[in-house]
Symmetry: C2
Subunit: 139 residues, 2 copies
DNA sequence: CTTATAGTGCAACCAAGTTGCAAATATGAG
DNA sequence: CTCATATTTGCAACTTGGTTGCACTATAAG
Protein backbone atom coordinates (compact mmCIF):
# COMPACT_ATOMS: atom_id res chain seq x y z
CA UNK A 1 0.00 0.00 0.00
CA UNK A 2 0.93 3.56 -0.67
CA UNK A 3 0.21 5.27 2.61
CA UNK A 4 0.65 8.99 2.13
CA UNK A 5 0.02 9.48 5.80
CA UNK A 6 3.71 9.18 6.61
CA UNK A 7 4.57 11.97 4.19
CA UNK A 8 1.88 14.20 5.62
CA UNK A 9 3.05 13.49 9.15
CA UNK A 10 6.62 14.22 8.21
CA UNK A 11 5.61 17.55 6.76
CA UNK A 12 3.36 18.52 9.62
CA UNK A 13 6.08 17.77 12.13
CA UNK A 14 8.05 20.48 10.36
CA UNK A 15 5.14 22.89 10.09
CA UNK A 16 4.49 22.39 6.40
CA UNK A 17 1.00 22.06 5.01
CA UNK A 18 0.90 18.83 3.02
CA UNK A 19 -0.46 19.62 -0.41
CA UNK A 20 -0.71 17.19 -3.32
CA UNK A 21 2.41 18.52 -5.03
CA UNK A 22 4.43 18.41 -1.83
CA UNK A 23 3.40 14.86 -1.00
CA UNK A 24 4.52 13.74 -4.45
CA UNK A 25 7.86 15.51 -4.21
CA UNK A 26 8.59 14.25 -0.71
CA UNK A 27 7.56 10.73 -1.63
CA UNK A 28 9.88 10.79 -4.62
CA UNK A 29 12.77 12.00 -2.52
CA UNK A 30 12.15 9.44 0.19
CA UNK A 31 11.89 6.52 -2.19
CA UNK A 32 15.26 7.24 -3.77
CA UNK A 33 18.45 5.85 -2.32
CA UNK A 34 20.38 8.91 -3.41
CA UNK A 35 20.02 12.67 -3.58
CA UNK A 36 17.97 14.05 -6.48
CA UNK A 37 18.16 17.21 -8.52
CA UNK A 38 15.18 19.27 -9.57
CA UNK A 39 15.43 17.76 -13.03
CA UNK A 40 15.58 14.24 -11.62
CA UNK A 41 12.35 14.90 -9.78
CA UNK A 42 10.69 16.42 -12.83
CA UNK A 43 11.56 13.31 -14.80
CA UNK A 44 9.89 11.07 -12.24
CA UNK A 45 6.91 13.39 -11.94
CA UNK A 46 6.36 14.78 -15.45
CA UNK A 47 2.92 16.10 -14.58
CA UNK A 48 4.38 18.64 -12.19
CA UNK A 49 5.58 22.03 -13.22
CA UNK A 50 9.26 22.93 -12.75
CA UNK A 51 8.34 25.96 -10.65
CA UNK A 52 6.07 23.93 -8.40
CA UNK A 53 8.85 21.46 -7.67
CA UNK A 54 11.18 24.39 -7.12
CA UNK A 55 8.86 26.00 -4.61
CA UNK A 56 8.19 22.77 -2.80
CA UNK A 57 11.90 22.08 -2.43
CA UNK A 58 12.64 25.57 -1.19
CA UNK A 59 9.88 25.30 1.35
CA UNK A 60 11.31 21.98 2.48
CA UNK A 61 14.73 23.57 2.77
CA UNK A 62 13.48 26.44 4.89
CA UNK A 63 11.76 24.02 7.24
CA UNK A 64 14.79 21.75 7.28
CA UNK A 65 12.85 18.81 5.97
CA UNK A 66 15.50 18.37 3.29
CA UNK A 67 19.06 19.56 2.82
CA UNK A 68 20.76 20.45 -0.45
CA UNK A 69 24.11 19.27 -1.74
CA UNK A 70 26.20 21.00 -4.32
CA UNK A 71 28.05 18.12 -5.92
CA UNK A 72 29.65 20.16 -8.64
CA UNK A 73 27.43 18.92 -11.46
CA UNK A 74 25.82 22.31 -11.80
CA UNK A 75 22.51 21.12 -10.44
CA UNK A 76 21.80 21.19 -6.71
CA UNK A 77 20.68 17.90 -5.27
CA UNK A 78 18.24 17.36 -2.44
CA UNK A 79 17.91 14.67 0.20
CA UNK A 80 15.54 14.21 3.12
CA UNK A 81 16.97 15.11 6.52
CA UNK A 82 16.83 12.68 9.40
CA UNK A 83 14.00 13.34 11.84
CA UNK A 84 14.67 16.21 14.21
CA UNK A 85 17.78 17.23 12.30
CA UNK A 86 18.36 20.94 12.69
CA UNK A 87 21.08 21.10 10.04
CA UNK A 88 23.65 22.58 12.40
CA UNK A 89 27.28 22.29 11.39
CA UNK A 90 27.81 19.44 13.86
CA UNK A 91 24.90 17.51 12.39
CA UNK A 92 25.86 17.93 8.76
CA UNK A 93 27.39 15.01 6.98
CA UNK A 94 29.72 14.30 4.12
CA UNK A 95 28.42 13.45 0.64
CA UNK A 96 29.78 11.37 -2.17
CA UNK A 97 29.38 11.96 -5.88
CA UNK A 98 29.97 9.02 -8.23
CA UNK A 99 31.73 10.04 -11.43
CA UNK A 100 30.44 6.93 -13.13
CA UNK A 101 26.71 6.81 -12.44
CA UNK A 102 26.32 10.46 -11.48
CA UNK A 103 24.51 9.67 -8.26
CA UNK A 104 25.13 11.55 -5.05
CA UNK A 105 24.93 9.78 -1.71
CA UNK A 106 24.54 10.93 1.87
CA UNK A 107 27.03 9.45 4.32
CA UNK A 108 24.90 10.21 7.32
CA UNK A 109 27.38 8.55 9.64
CA UNK A 110 30.27 10.72 8.49
CA UNK A 111 30.07 14.12 10.09
CA UNK A 112 31.97 17.22 9.09
CA UNK A 113 35.27 16.88 10.94
CA UNK A 114 35.98 19.43 13.64
CA UNK A 115 38.50 21.74 12.03
CA UNK A 116 40.60 24.55 13.43
CA UNK A 117 40.25 27.40 10.97
CA UNK A 118 42.65 30.32 10.57
CA UNK A 119 42.22 33.10 13.13
CA UNK A 120 39.10 35.16 12.58
CA UNK A 121 37.25 32.70 10.34
CA UNK A 122 33.99 31.36 11.81
CA UNK A 123 32.04 28.72 9.97
CA UNK A 124 28.35 28.05 10.29
CA UNK A 125 27.83 25.43 7.61
CA UNK A 126 29.74 23.27 5.20
CA UNK A 127 29.48 21.48 1.87
CA UNK A 128 31.84 18.53 1.85
CA UNK A 129 31.71 16.14 -1.05
CA UNK A 130 34.07 13.41 -2.06
CA UNK A 131 34.12 12.37 -5.70
CA UNK A 132 35.04 8.99 -7.07
CA UNK A 133 33.36 5.71 -7.82
CA UNK A 134 30.53 4.33 -5.71
CA UNK A 135 30.22 0.81 -4.35
CA UNK A 136 27.73 -0.13 -7.00
CA UNK A 137 29.87 0.99 -9.91
CA UNK A 138 32.92 -0.64 -8.36
CA UNK A 139 31.47 -4.12 -8.72
CA UNK B 1 57.58 46.82 -12.72
CA UNK B 2 55.19 44.46 -14.32
CA UNK B 3 57.33 41.52 -15.27
CA UNK B 4 55.24 39.15 -17.31
CA UNK B 5 58.13 36.76 -17.39
CA UNK B 6 57.00 35.04 -14.22
CA UNK B 7 53.59 34.32 -15.74
CA UNK B 8 55.13 32.95 -18.90
CA UNK B 9 57.51 30.78 -16.91
CA UNK B 10 54.68 29.51 -14.79
CA UNK B 11 52.72 28.53 -17.88
CA UNK B 12 55.65 26.98 -19.66
CA UNK B 13 56.50 24.86 -16.65
CA UNK B 14 53.03 23.38 -17.11
CA UNK B 15 53.34 23.03 -20.86
CA UNK B 16 51.04 25.92 -21.76
CA UNK B 17 51.89 28.35 -24.52
CA UNK B 18 51.73 31.81 -22.96
CA UNK B 19 49.53 33.98 -25.14
CA UNK B 20 48.44 37.51 -24.36
CA UNK B 21 45.03 36.49 -23.08
CA UNK B 22 46.47 33.77 -20.87
CA UNK B 23 49.06 36.05 -19.33
CA UNK B 24 46.34 38.54 -18.42
CA UNK B 25 44.09 35.89 -16.90
CA UNK B 26 46.89 34.28 -14.91
CA UNK B 27 48.16 37.64 -13.71
CA UNK B 28 44.68 38.57 -12.52
CA UNK B 29 44.30 35.32 -10.66
CA UNK B 30 47.73 35.59 -9.06
CA UNK B 31 47.24 39.15 -7.90
CA UNK B 32 44.00 38.37 -6.06
CA UNK B 33 44.05 37.18 -2.46
CA UNK B 34 41.00 35.02 -3.06
CA UNK B 35 39.54 32.71 -5.67
CA UNK B 36 37.83 34.38 -8.63
CA UNK B 37 34.90 33.43 -10.83
CA UNK B 38 34.79 33.84 -14.58
CA UNK B 39 32.63 36.93 -14.10
CA UNK B 40 35.06 38.38 -11.55
CA UNK B 41 37.83 38.05 -14.09
CA UNK B 42 35.75 39.56 -16.88
CA UNK B 43 35.07 42.57 -14.68
CA UNK B 44 38.77 43.12 -14.09
CA UNK B 45 39.56 42.55 -17.76
CA UNK B 46 36.60 43.98 -19.65
CA UNK B 47 38.47 43.91 -22.94
CA UNK B 48 38.52 40.12 -22.93
CA UNK B 49 35.73 38.01 -24.27
CA UNK B 50 33.87 35.65 -21.93
CA UNK B 51 34.70 32.66 -24.10
CA UNK B 52 38.39 33.52 -24.21
CA UNK B 53 38.55 33.64 -20.44
CA UNK B 54 36.59 30.41 -20.33
CA UNK B 55 39.01 28.66 -22.64
CA UNK B 56 42.07 29.98 -20.85
CA UNK B 57 40.72 28.78 -17.51
CA UNK B 58 39.85 25.35 -18.87
CA UNK B 59 43.30 25.00 -20.34
CA UNK B 60 44.80 26.01 -16.99
CA UNK B 61 42.63 23.41 -15.28
CA UNK B 62 43.71 20.63 -17.63
CA UNK B 63 47.34 21.47 -17.00
CA UNK B 64 46.76 21.82 -13.26
CA UNK B 65 47.95 25.38 -13.21
CA UNK B 66 44.74 26.33 -11.39
CA UNK B 67 42.10 24.44 -9.46
CA UNK B 68 38.41 25.20 -9.31
CA UNK B 69 36.20 25.50 -6.27
CA UNK B 70 32.47 25.09 -6.21
CA UNK B 71 31.47 27.32 -3.33
CA UNK B 72 27.75 27.00 -3.89
CA UNK B 73 27.25 30.47 -5.34
CA UNK B 74 26.43 29.02 -8.72
CA UNK B 75 29.64 30.25 -10.29
CA UNK B 76 32.81 28.18 -10.14
CA UNK B 77 35.81 29.96 -8.70
CA UNK B 78 39.41 29.51 -9.72
CA UNK B 79 42.68 29.82 -7.84
CA UNK B 80 46.28 29.22 -8.82
CA UNK B 81 47.78 25.95 -7.63
CA UNK B 82 51.03 25.86 -5.73
CA UNK B 83 54.04 24.99 -7.85
CA UNK B 84 54.36 21.32 -8.66
CA UNK B 85 50.94 20.59 -7.25
CA UNK B 86 49.43 17.61 -8.98
CA UNK B 87 45.97 18.08 -7.48
CA UNK B 88 45.84 14.63 -5.97
CA UNK B 89 43.37 14.04 -3.20
CA UNK B 90 46.14 14.25 -0.58
CA UNK B 91 47.26 17.61 -1.91
CA UNK B 92 43.84 19.19 -2.11
CA UNK B 93 42.88 21.70 0.53
CA UNK B 94 39.77 23.02 2.20
CA UNK B 95 38.12 26.25 1.07
CA UNK B 96 36.12 28.87 2.87
CA UNK B 97 33.27 30.94 1.50
CA UNK B 98 32.36 34.15 3.31
CA UNK B 99 28.61 34.74 3.41
CA UNK B 100 29.22 38.43 4.02
CA UNK B 101 31.70 39.56 1.39
CA UNK B 102 31.16 36.63 -0.98
CA UNK B 103 34.86 35.88 -1.26
CA UNK B 104 36.25 32.36 -1.34
CA UNK B 105 39.59 31.59 0.24
CA UNK B 106 42.05 28.73 -0.10
CA UNK B 107 43.24 27.25 3.17
CA UNK B 108 46.30 25.72 1.64
CA UNK B 109 47.47 24.43 5.00
CA UNK B 110 44.25 22.52 5.66
CA UNK B 111 44.20 19.30 3.70
CA UNK B 112 41.24 17.07 3.07
CA UNK B 113 41.11 14.85 6.16
CA UNK B 114 41.80 11.18 5.64
CA UNK B 115 38.36 9.60 5.81
CA UNK B 116 37.23 6.01 5.95
CA UNK B 117 34.43 5.72 3.44
CA UNK B 118 31.73 3.02 3.37
CA UNK B 119 32.81 -0.25 1.82
CA UNK B 120 33.19 -0.07 -1.95
CA UNK B 121 33.40 3.70 -2.25
CA UNK B 122 36.70 4.99 -3.63
CA UNK B 123 37.33 8.72 -3.82
CA UNK B 124 39.75 10.43 -6.16
CA UNK B 125 38.99 14.07 -5.45
CA UNK B 126 37.01 16.26 -3.12
CA UNK B 127 35.32 19.64 -2.83
CA UNK B 128 35.28 20.72 0.80
CA UNK B 129 34.06 24.19 1.62
CA UNK B 130 33.18 25.74 4.92
CA UNK B 131 30.81 28.68 4.88
CA UNK B 132 30.65 31.43 7.42
CA UNK B 133 32.24 34.82 8.03
CA UNK B 134 35.84 35.55 7.11
CA UNK B 135 38.45 37.22 9.30
CA UNK B 136 38.09 40.48 7.47
CA UNK B 137 34.31 40.68 7.86
CA UNK B 138 34.57 39.62 11.48
CA UNK B 139 36.41 42.80 12.50
C1' DC C 1 -22.14 30.42 0.27
C1' DT C 2 -18.72 34.03 0.31
C1' DT C 3 -14.54 35.73 0.80
C1' DA C 4 -9.67 35.73 2.09
C1' DT C 5 -5.54 33.07 1.74
C1' DA C 6 -2.49 29.86 -0.11
C1' DG C 7 -0.90 26.97 -3.89
C1' DT C 8 -0.15 25.97 -8.73
C1' DG C 9 0.82 26.31 -13.78
C1' DC C 10 2.53 28.96 -17.32
C1' DA C 11 5.51 31.95 -19.60
C1' DA C 12 9.08 34.82 -19.43
C1' DC C 13 13.41 35.82 -17.73
C1' DC C 14 18.42 35.65 -15.87
C1' DA C 15 23.05 34.00 -15.14
C1' DA C 16 26.70 30.70 -15.98
C1' DG C 17 28.66 27.97 -18.97
C1' DT C 18 29.48 26.14 -23.69
C1' DT C 19 29.91 25.76 -28.83
C1' DG C 20 30.50 26.73 -33.97
C1' DC C 21 32.47 29.55 -36.96
C1' DA C 22 35.01 33.03 -39.16
C1' DA C 23 38.60 36.54 -38.59
C1' DA C 24 43.11 37.31 -36.79
C1' DT C 25 47.43 35.86 -35.29
C1' DA C 26 51.36 32.95 -34.75
C1' DT C 27 54.35 29.16 -36.54
C1' DG C 28 57.32 26.84 -39.55
C1' DA C 29 58.94 24.79 -44.09
C1' DG C 30 60.97 26.11 -48.07
C1' DC D 1 60.92 36.62 -46.34
C1' DT D 2 56.70 34.23 -48.01
C1' DC D 3 53.17 31.37 -48.16
C1' DA D 4 50.66 27.49 -46.22
C1' DT D 5 49.12 25.65 -41.94
C1' DA D 6 47.73 25.51 -37.27
C1' DT D 7 46.36 27.98 -33.22
C1' DT D 8 43.99 31.50 -30.81
C1' DT D 9 40.50 34.80 -30.31
C1' DG D 10 36.02 37.36 -30.67
C1' DC D 11 31.40 37.09 -31.61
C1' DA D 12 26.90 35.33 -31.56
C1' DA D 13 23.97 31.89 -30.58
C1' DC D 14 22.45 28.45 -27.51
C1' DT D 15 21.74 25.17 -23.30
C1' DT D 16 20.65 24.42 -18.65
C1' DG D 17 19.45 25.39 -13.97
C1' DG D 18 17.26 28.38 -11.37
C1' DT D 19 13.86 32.21 -10.42
C1' DT D 20 9.85 35.45 -10.72
C1' DG D 21 5.29 37.78 -11.92
C1' DC D 22 0.87 36.90 -12.70
C1' DA D 23 -3.45 34.92 -13.33
C1' DC D 24 -6.17 30.84 -12.23
C1' DT D 25 -7.53 27.30 -8.86
C1' DA D 26 -8.11 25.11 -4.58
C1' DT D 27 -8.56 25.36 0.28
C1' DA D 28 -10.14 27.08 4.78
C1' DA D 29 -12.63 30.26 7.80
C1' DG D 30 -16.43 32.84 8.86
Amino acid sequence: MDCKQIYEDKMESRGIKPTAVRVLVLKTLMSADNAMSMTDIENVLPTLEKSSVFRALNLFLEHKLVHSIDDGTGALKYAVCSDNCECTLEKEHIHFYCNKCGKTFCFIGLHIPVTVLPKGFVSSSANFVFKGVCSNCNK
